[in-house]
Amino acid sequence: MSPLRRFLRTPEAVTGAMLLAALIAMALSASLLFPGDPQAIAGPALLPPFQDWSLPLGTDRLGRDVLAELFHGARTSLAVGLAAAAAALVVGAVVGTLAGFAGGLVDEVLMRITDAFQTVPSFLLALAFVSVVGPSLGVVVIAIALGTWTGPARVARAEVLSIRERDYVAGARVIGMHPLAIAFREVLPNALPPVLAMSSVIVAAAILTEAALSFLGLGDPNRVTWGGMIAEGRAVLRTAPFLSIVPGIALVLTVLGVYLAGEGIVETTAVRRGLS
């Protein structure tokens, strides 16, 4: 059975993929369906959902369209989640490969740096970084990546330690290949599968961290974020709970979708490797 068909036969994976597809569709269609500034005032303040069909999910305290905010917020969540996870995976894989392949002093130094980052709670690290540098989308991405690259680095190093003893690495040395070429051409690609298996967890965590930062007011102030929407709705939690519940549900479904789809991909590729 092909991996795609096996993926499609797993209900969790299909659910995850559908949620993820919906999220991507929201993010891509945001400026088509809701052109203009989502932070502009669109109607009366605190309009409840399903009252006015030109504003289906109602308006917030300032009269902004909640549905438009939701769509534009999907962009931020997805962009930050993917960018932060990609940065963390790349940095982690490179650091882990260098440490594992070089060994000795290089390994010692790189792993102590990794330890130092790992001992600080990653959210605290992100919080401190953003409050020092100032909130913007790029800074938030770096802040999240700063706390998450250590996991991939450790996994990559462990994998590289076993791969570097294989005959084909000795063969590459006999051929006269440069050590860096061996590390990144021969060793790294074969060490990647277990590192990539972590990506769904990392993307999900990155989306949550971004929401948490925005909730605390440390997100990019020029962008709509789900975390920021929840924080905004908190002030009127008793009179207009939907303002917090709607983006909250969106957040839960997104994290769930990323996680389920990621697990589905890992499962199907793992089975394929087991068979071959």
Binding site: R166, D167, Y168, A170, G171, A172, R173, V174, I175, G176, M177, H178, A181, E186, P189, N190, S276
Partner: protein
């Protein structure tokens, strides 16, 4: 002058507070175009010597002269450049290649690394190398795991000869193959030796094979040279205790098969 001269080579491993000498004061030489076999029981230091000669591991003591210069004095780019002249074929041809590689990439690497052929010229060189080892050029785009064990070992030999080496270390290069394929691979190695004057350091536990392909043999026991001399003389009438034990342990069936195989090789 000899092609490779190894003198007083020593390599120790520390296990706990005990020091075990894997290779203990070993000296030998190989002449151009000659096959020197290393034989001995498991753990006698055969593979360690191979890895020391290739500078995959560093010796604790001793000297290695290759093509008239001190091989142990080389490092960095100079060492990588010299590696073109000293190649290796591994026992397990599947483990010896990157699992993601194709035949073409495996053969492209040495040509690229040593600047032997330009990018445009390399596909033609790769095809020529494949034909040189008795494979068809159409095999180039195939993945390493898709071809048979015998084909894989031929690709390994093609890779080893790509840089025109003067010495190839064959670490049990034919041992993992079945008997009929083994005979073909040995025949290919002998042909290459005759035509290109390549010397072999032939590591094997199979005295029958050694008797038919090697000029001289060194019998190792616990990292030391136990016996040393003309391959046929040593194997037909071993003098050392380990030599007698090895010959006695070689199954009669195997020797008969090898006599058949060596008859085919002549």
């Amino acid at each position: 002058m000899s092609l490779l001269a190894v003198s007083n080579l020593t390599k120790c491993y520390r296990r706990g507070d005990k020091t075990i000498a894997a290779v203990d004061d070993v000296s030998f030489h190989i002449d151009p175009g000659e096959t020197l076999a290393l034989a001995g029981p498991s753990g006698s230091g055969k593979s360690t010597i191979a890895r020391l000669v290739l500078r995959l591991i560093e010796p604790d003591d001793g000297r290695i002269d290759f093509e008239g210069s001190d091989f142990l004095a080389l490092s960095g780019a100079a060492l990588r450049a010299r590696r073109a002249r000293l190649q290796m074929v591994f026992q397990d041809p599947l483990a010896a290649f990157n699992p993601r590689a194709t035949v073409a990439r495996v053969l492209d690497d040495p040509l690229r690394v040593h600047g032997i052929a330009s990018r445009a010229e390399r596909p033609r060189r790769i095809a020529a190398l494949l034909e040189r080892v008795g494979l068809i050029a159409d095999l180039a785009p195939r993945a390493i795991h898709e071809i048979s064990g015998g084909q894989r070992q031929r690709v390994a030999i093609a890779r080893a000869i790509a840089t025109k080496p003067s010495l190839i270390v064959l670490d049990e290069a034919a041992s993992a193959l079945d008997v009929s394929v083994r005979g073909e691979i040995l025949k290919l190695l002998l042909d290459l030796q005759r035509q290109e004057k390549i010397a072999y350091l032939f590591i094997s536990h199979d005295l029958g094979v050694i008797r038919s392909v090697a000029h001289r043999v060194i019998l190792l026991d616990a990292g030391r040279i136990a016996e040393n001399g003309d391959a046929q003389t040593v194997i037909d009438a071993p003098q050392s205790a380990i030599g007698k034990a090895l010959v006695a342990a070689a199954p009669r069936l195997n020797r008969t098969l090898m006599r058949l195989a060596s008859a085919g090789l002549d």
